[in-house]
Amino acid sequence: MGWKFTEAAFKDLIVKLKADYTILGPKRFVGQGRFSDTDLIRYDEIESLDEIVWNEKSTFSPKEVVFPITQTLFYFIEEKFLEPKLDENKILIFLRPCDINGIRRLDTIHLRNGPQSDSYYAQLRERVRFVMMECMEGFDTCFCVSMKSNITSDYDMAVRFGDDEVLAEVKNDDFTRYFSLDLPRVEFTPGFVQENTIKVTVPDGGEISAGIYNHDMWNEYKSRCIACGRCNTTCITCSCHTTTDIFYDDNMRAGERRRTWACCHVDGFTDMAGGISFRKDNGSRMRFKVLHKIYDYNKRFGEHMCVGCGRCDDNCPEYISYSSCINRLSQVIQETDACVKIP
């Protein structure tokens, strides 16, 4: 069973929730898009229902809510390490099923890869609650169905936005104290995308051979990819980061240790002091990223890392299509590695 909110009632719910939650959702930034006269849609704090852009795909994912672009790990005063003060406000994010599944991948890396969990990530993540925005159709570059990330049950509330009403399934009982229980009850459970225009086939188990790593197919990306890292920064699942220490210009005895998103496509990702580095050409970087997303991560954790949100394809300035690359890779694997299952 669900609840039927009028637009006014849902607006009122958001106002009430804001007393206890920082509410984030996809928001329109007029004229800030990649091309002239286009808008940017990215996650930001929501003041009212009208600001939530629920019927377009956001350019950026909600990743930065749980994994900030830059995060201070320590403040240094001479040789003292001070941890930053924690914000204790609870966070509510309006997001789609693919992004919820993407955040689960971030959880896997930060909380479950290795014996120690990342305390900075854990502290942010446990404050977060999900409002899933129903997504029935997807968008033209989505391939979430192929990646099995079109469906999730991991949400506190699911909503269907209508012209002048909002249907909601409320799974977290804590939320029921923020609206009148006299609201009409309706039969509502959220639907999910059943089919995308773009379909990809991904290797499913088996060992791929050395020939795949050295295959000519990667050569195209040597020149086409410009190593800008947009695919990494817009990807909900890219979790890599680099820590850097700084000291303040006016006082060298004080400073910070910060971590910042890092991109496997960008120069310097593998550089070691002394001059050794790996994957110097951009084709190798494309190969590394693609295999991480649809092969290596699966071998380690039992599900693919890529959730098929298609933002990498949306944002590549060189119009490289990652989804086409996966299909091409699967074809190459089928031709060369009979033992690898391609569904």
Binding site: L73, F74, F76, E78, E79, F81, E83, I109, H110, N113, G114, Q116, S117, D118, S119, Y120, Y121, A122, Q123, E207, A210, Y213, S239, C240, H241, T242, T243, T244, D245, I246, F247, M252, R253, A254, G255, R257, R259, A262, C264, F269, T270, D271, M272, A273, G274, G275, I276, F278, R279, S284, F288, L291, H292, D296, Y297, K299, R300
Partner: protein, 265 residues
């Protein structure tokens, strides 16, 4: 309060030994000994953090041999005895010491790759009966680059040792000149199931030295390598050291070569 695995702890520098123009060995106070082959994340607040393997282990201390080639290592080289250095760790898996027991072990190290195997050599120097035989093969670029000269002289007295330099520079008094790979065939290997080979050094050295041992009849399963990659966390989160489905900081740095050879950067 939640435990913060990124929080380094202060450790006292006990002793600094100059090894070459670029490298020094820092002896650092620690409470609990690491396993042989593990590494620490070494920090200088406001400068940065870097992974450094252990080049010596003793009661209450570890040695780290650090080359002065980067921002953090430069700062470490400006420290004095009694300075404080910040450490996290130890991390990584270490060498499979139990599997080496009773075997004919060959340790091949190139350049600064000798640092992570030094604790191994000291262990067998003190416990020579733990292995059936130990052969050492060391390669350095020039005579000036040779690390742990005194240790090598001492090890030589107990184990068959080949020490080679790529370039004699007109000052080399040793017998061997040339790449380490050229001297693999000079080691008299035992039967297949008695051998264990440890190879540590730059990626190119590991690749060609392993190939040479394989040509001499050793199988990939009998070779152990220790790998180095860039790391920011040492905890399996930052992604810099990932190769194929493995994270060097968690699953390595020590790998059997039959596994390592399948890993593609």
């Amino acid at each position: 309060m939640r435990e913060n695995p990124m929080m380094p702890k202060p450790h006292k520098v006990i002793k600094i030994d100059l090894e070459t123009d670029l490298e020094s060995t820092f002896r650092i106070e620690v409470d609990t000994p690491p396993a042989l082959g593990q590494f620490y994340m070494v920090s200088i607040p406001r400068i940065g953090e870097m992974p450094i393997s252990i080049s010596g282990i003793g009661p209450g201390w570890v040695d780290m041999t650090i080359r002065n080639v980067g921002k953090v290592s430069r700062a470490v080289h400006s420290l004095n005895e009694k300075s404080i250095l910040f450490l996290r760790g130890p991390y990584g898996n270490g060498f499979p010491m139990d599997e080496f027991k009773g075997r004919h072990l060959v340790i091949a190290a190139g350049g600064s790759g000798i640092a992570p195997v030094r604790p191994l050599l000291e262990h067998y120097y003190r416990n020579p009966d733990e292995v059936d035989k130990l052969d050492l093969l060391f390669g350095f670029k020039t005579p000036d680059d040779i690390l742990f000269r005194q240790d090598i002289d001492r090890w030589k007295s107990r184990f068959d040792t080949i020490l080679t330099v790529d370039d004699a520079c007109g000052i080399w008094e040793g017998e061997c000149v040339g790449l380490i790979t050229e001297y693999v065939k000079n080691i008299k290997l035992s039967e297949y199931d008695k051998m264990e080979i440890v190879i540590v050094g730059p990626p190119v050295m590991i690749k060609f030295t392993a190939a040479e041992f394989i040509r001499q009849g050793v199988s990939e399963e009998r070779i152990v390598v220790s790998m180095e990659r860039r790391m920011s966390c040492g905890l399996g989160k930052c992604g810099h050291c990932k190769i194929s489905e493995y994270y060097i900081c968690l699953d390595g740095p020590v790998f059997r070569y039959n596994e390592a050879v399948k890993l593609v950067d």
